[in-house]
């Protein structure tokens, strides 16, 4: 338990971060004491990552003050923060895939003399560090060849090695097994005993309740409150996080399943092993699984974004195995990417131009000319449908908030009459308001007789939207759940399955 007498390691006052078009963090006061684990709790896009990136020196505040041990600081770089004993494990891996494990751990802080590095010392100290943390990783191995869990361990080792007094962990358990999580928690207890303060980001309440002292809840960039973990409950935290009771967030979606429009039989692809399932119009098929479980890869393979190695895919009765993405789209399948900035939107185009890209293929040209008037009318109708306010429609996609970007991407899928909508992480980095809009759109699609596939790393989302739920583990479907069988315990039980469904 933290005492008020424990020294304050970090205090922020009115910490604010503005990006063009968005306030990512709005005047947040936060405090970390020595020897405590302080959890940041909130949805994607609530501002947790923004807060820690400023504390870790990865970005600079637009406004407000950060104090380390009572002394105001201005971090210009990660190096500045590290000098004050602050070390961070970011969710976005900060490893160099082309280098070895040992080189990565000491990157930017290489042992040696003067300008020279001492490779022997590097490997020896990496070994010592792994021995202390009880991690079983070869310091010589190339990082590109490690599993995600192993990479995560290297990240953690990298943060531990320097003289750290403030440690920031951004979802460190996202790709760890239960066993590895226990392991990590023992290490964290050790650090706490040494007086290290830890800022910990996680969505898994039951998990962090074991190690945390306090929780600060953020929503849409603002601080909702800080509570002692002993005085709170999971449902109270979720209510603080979302601003409403769980039952109010997810719409009730009527289910009227028809004959399968899309059937996948024994599909194999890199990282995907013998996957079979069907997709029916008029229902939402949820897809859950850990990062790296293959839940996204499976559908990317189906869409022709990665090559398939075996099996068959049937769409509306015809065999479309191994078809290109364009052919799949023409066949009536829309794929909404999980990475809207890298492969979804044209960031330098306006919202209208982004939307018209979705409309254009459906518009017959006249004498080789596109009917721009009709396209424009359709674009406005779609913008209305996805609730994009008029002033935003002429803005560049790059300048929109995550929520409005996602609505734009969603709208592109409405430009044509698709039969199947594959939504890969439909609400990643989206604020609460836009989230309920997107759920409403999903409901409308499903109730209009479309087949909707919702792939989500946010387990409550996957569970609450789905009529049927596929759980992926290690490239296979570990379980297919329906109705009342969809609950957290049964889903989590399959997350680490080694075997597929009983053969």
């Amino acid at each position: 338990m933290t005492e008020a007498s424990d020294p304050v390691l970090i205090r922020t006052r009115g910490l604010t971060k503005r990006y063009p078009g968005v306030v990512a963090l709005d005047a947040v006061d936060f405090e970390l004491r020595a020897g405590e684990v302080h959890v940041l709790f909130g949805e994607n896009g609530a501002g947790k990552s923004t807060l820690i990136s400023m504390v870790a020196g990865a970005s600079e505040p637009s406004d407000g003050v950060i104090e380390v041990r009572g002394e105001p600081v201005q971090f210009r770089s990660v190096a500045d923060a590290r000098e004050k004993g602050i070390s961070a494990v970011f969710q976005e891996f900060s490893l160099v895939p082309t280098m070895s494990v040992a080189e990565n751990i000491f990157l930017g802080d290489e042992p040696g003399r003067g300008i020279f590095t001492d490779r022997g010392a590097m490997r020896r100290r990496a070994r010592e560090l792994f021995a202390e943390l009880d991690f079983d990783i070869d310091p010589y191995a190339s990082v590109a060849r490690l599993s995600r869990a192993q990479q995560q361990m290297v990240e953690i080792a990298k943060a531990f090695h320097s003289d750290v007094s403030i440690l920031i962990l951004d979802e460190p358990t996202a790709s760890l097994t239960n066993h590895e999580v226990d392991h990590l928690f023992r290490v964290i207890e050790k650090m706490k005993a040494r007086g290290v303060g830890i800022i910990y980001i996680s969505h898994r309440v039951q998990e962090f309740a074991r190690i945390a002292e306090r929780v600060t809840v953020l929503r849409d960039g603002a601080k909702i409150g800080t509570v002692d973990i002993a005085d709170t409950s999971e449902s109270q935290l979720v209510e603080m996080m979302t601003g409403r009771a769980i039952a109010e967030i997810y719409p009730v979606i009527k289910r009227s399943p028809a004959e399968p429009v899309l059937s996948v039989r024994n599909l194999s692809a890199p990282g995907i092993d013998d996957v079979s399932f069907v997709v029916r119009p008029g229902e939402v098929l949820g897809v859950a699984g850990l990062v790296g479980s293959g839940k996204s890869r499976c559908f990317r393979a189906l869409m022709g974004l990665i090559p398939t190695e075996g099996g068959s895919v049937t769409l509306n009765g015809s065999d479309v195995t191994g078809r290109s993405t364009r052919q799949m789209m023409r066949g009536g399948v829309y794929y909404l990417t999980a990475n809207r900035k890298a492969e979804g939107l044209q960031l330098a185009f306006s919202v209208r131009n982004n939307l018209s890209q979705g409309v254009m293929p459906a518009m017959p040209s006249r004498a080789g000319l596109l009917p721009w008037g009709r396209i424009a009318a359709k674009v406005e109708a779609i913008a209305e449908q996805v609730a994009l306010p008029v002033p935003y429609r002429s803005r560049l996609a790059a300048q929109l908030s995550g929520g409005n970007q996602q609505k734009t991407l969603f709208g592109r899928g409405l430009g044509w009459d698709y039969d199947v909508y594959i939504l890969d992480e439909p609400t990643v980095g989206v604020d609460m308001g836009a989230r309920s809009e997107i759920y409403r759109l999903i409901r409308d699609l499903a109730e209009a007789g479309k087949a909707v596939i919702a792939i989500s790393s946010d387990l409550p989302e996957a569970m609450n939207l789905a009529h049927r739920l596929l759980v992926f583990s290690k490239g296979r479907i570990a379980a297919e759940l329906e109705g009342d069988d969809i609950n957290e315990a049964s889903v989590l039980a399959h997350f680490f399955d080694d075997e597929g469904k009983a053969a």
Binding site: V96, P97, T98, E103, D109, S142, A144
Partner: protein
């Protein structure tokens, strides 16, 4: 099941060879294969190719390309490239020659001082070019392609402007005698210079912080930044060193031709990139080794030598060089996917 097992058994001898070739490809890239193909082809085309004397000759000729490739490797490892190396060679040549000629008139007795100041002037001019490249790429985020292409035009223009397109002659004879044709312990001076640079580069890349940081910036710039590496300074240094090494090459070439020429180093940008990529330096950055690049540069020179002996016209040689470069990049893509993909 039993069918597949027996099929595997039958194919074992062949798949063993494939596995060996695959591991050579992953470790060393496409170079060993190109070398074997080149040596076999040219020995068949010309009986003079395999002579020991010819190989010594090739090594001596390769020195200049080898040096430039050492610098080019630094730019490539950061994930960029430097198209201005040829222009840097020209600028160095012209600057050094002009300074030497001017100073030789003022102080005809202090030959060594004249040569030293001339060389320093050349190196200084080149390092300015490197700094400009570095600032553009690191601080203004200009793509290395446009930055170094633009700078290349600027620098080539300046070199031609300074000389009016006419070679600068009248440098001290000692300069050419020592740095162009001299020998120390029986070894040609340019070869010695190249050996020193190779060793220095190997130490830099394998044993220093700066080397590690250059690999890291090219391997994943964001990660390097989050590891408290000053990525901008690292990029600057890489482009600066690249220009300096090219400049050194410019001095050696100037000594060889005994005049300052604005048309030295014409095709060296393409050739040095080809040498690096063939030697397994990834165009995406982060991957590449000094010792392989040495072999890559020797390979390019060897191929040119072989084609000369086989009486391939110089026009056709350009076609082949470009083809080899593109082929090497295609194989680099395949190799990168194999290296990064989890087996």
């Amino acid at each position: 099941m039993s069918d597949t097992v027996s099929a595997e058994g039958r194919g074992k001898g062949r798949s063993g060879l494939v596995a060996i070739l695959r591991s050579i490809f992953l470790r060393l890239g496409v170079l060993p294969f190109f070398l074997v193909i080149a040596i076999v082809t040219f020995s068949l085309l010309s009986d003079r190719f395999l002579a020991v004397g010819n190989f010594m000759n090739v090594f001596r000729q390769s020195v200049y390309l080898l040096l430039v490739s050492m610098g080019q490797m630094l730019a490539l490892l950061t994930g960029g490239f430097d198209l201005s190396v040829g222009a840097v060679i020209a600028l160095t040549s012209v600057t050094a020659a002009l300074v030497m000629v001017a100073l030789a008139g003022i102080m005809p007795d202090a030959v060594w001082l004249v040569i030293a100041l001339g060389c320093l002037a050349g190196l200084f001019a080149a390092s300015l070019v490197g700094v400009v490249n570095g600032i553009g790429v690191a601080y203004f985020g200009v793509s290395p392609f446009i930055m170094t292409l633009g700078v290349s035009s600027v620098v080539a223009g300046i070199s031609l402007f300074l000389t009016g397109g006419v070679p600068v002659s009248g440098m001290p004879f000692e300069f050419g005698n020592i740095f162009g044709f001299g020998r120390l312990f029986g070894v040609p001076v340019p070869v010695l210079v190249a050996l020193v640079v190779i060793v220095a580069m190997w130490i830099l890349m394998a044993r220093t912080r700066l080397g590690a940081h250059i690999y890291a910036v090219g391997g994943n710039e964001k990660a390097a930044k989050l590891s408290a590496i000053d990525t901008k300074a690292t990029l600057m240094t890489a482009y600066g060193l690249c220009a300096l090494i090219a400049s050194l090459t410019g001095l050696l070439l100037t000594a060889r031709v005994e005049s300052g020429e604005a048309n030295l180093g014409g095709t060296v940008a393409l050739e040095s990139i080809a040498a690096c990529v063939i030697a397994g330096v990834s165009l995406r950055g982060g991957i590449g080794r000094v010792e392989n690049v040495v072999l890559g540069a020797i390979f390019i020179t060897l191929a040119q030598n072989g084609m000369n002996l086989a009486q391939v016209s110089s026009y056709m040689q350009m076609v082949l060089l470009g083809g080899v470069l593109i082929l090497a990049v295609v194989f680099d893509q395949i190799r990168y996917r194999m290296l990064m993909g989890r087996a």
